[in-house]
Amino acid sequence: MSRVLRVRLFWAAAAVFAVAFAAACTGLPRFGTLSHPYGARAIAAAFHQRTANTVSSVNFDQRAFDTLGEESILFAAVLGGLVLLRRARDERLGGVRRGRVLPATRLFGSVLLPITLLTGVYIVAHGQLSPGGGFQGGVILATGLHLAYVAADYGVLKAIRPLAVFDVADAVGAGAFVGLGLVGLAVGAAYLQNVLPLGTFGQLSSGGLVPVINAAVGLEVGSGVVVLLAGFLDQAVEINSPDEQDNRTGR
């Protein structure tokens, strides 16, 4: 399709979308409406399951099967990314230039690294009580680890990030979510039904299955983002593709 035709087609589609969307917006309840029928039912169900964070209750209890689907998309995307980013047969590893780091940056990074990792663990562990959970905590853990790259250099990052371990951890996290669903089947309930003891409302041990699934998701998201970033960092910093090598030998 030619470029001009493509842009014309876009304008036609955009006009249709704009009219239909604007018409749909006038039919919506007004902004800030007081009636949220689904929200009210979800909150009542969260109280019944003694989970103080209703968002976590929706994600990891009331629609846990749906989250399993989303989590599989994440796992498949990480897997596909890794396959595409791995070093091909015609690519060689180049040496990494050691960067100079200001002492202040080094100090800042080495102080912040443990604090960030601790915050990440806290956010995963308190997902059933306060804002947080496996998805957010996992991202914080994965990005926090890369403070080592900012504060030191690529060698240090590689030393504190054994990729083989994170590869396995990613799969274990994904498998644990699937496996936890079987607990429900084992006691004669439905798949992923919250059958663990629910605990006391507002306590760290409340919510039954919710904190356990949160931990599995945190493990999977954290290690998934780490191995993905590692693949991109290797490509950008370390791996020389054939066209880059030709020039190097030609010089």
Binding site: G32, V55, P131, F232, A236, N247, R251
Partner: protein, 95 residues
């Protein structure tokens, strides 16, 4: 509608305006390296918007993903693509 409700709605409107403008700039930026920086700002704007919309959970994941992971991935990809392009051009010049 009480006073605090009105203030919070003005805040939401201001953040939404910020997000809309940043998103427009991000979509119209041609250079991917600059776009990565604008996307980081968009991530920050979305984090603010989600916070004033009383969604700290979403704000938290948007903060990590929108301001750090996505721009970083785009920058690393651009760097890899540019590195091979620059070296290819250098090689041709020296031949």
């Amino acid at each position: 509608m009480s006073g605090t409700d009105a203030i919070s709605e003005y805040l939401i409107a201001a953040c939404l305006l910020l997000v809309t403008v940043t998103a427009t700039v991000a979509a119209l930026t041609r250079d991917p390296m600059r776009q990565a920086l604008v996307l980081a700002m968009l991530g920050l704007g979305l984090t603010l918007l989600f916070t004033v919309l009383q969604a700290p959970d979403v704000a938290l994941s948007q903060l990590g993903v929108g301001t750090a992971v996505t721009p970083l991935l785009i920058m690393l990809t651009v760097r890899k693509v540019r590195r091979s392009a620059v070296q290819r051009r250098d090689g041709e010049r020296q031949r």
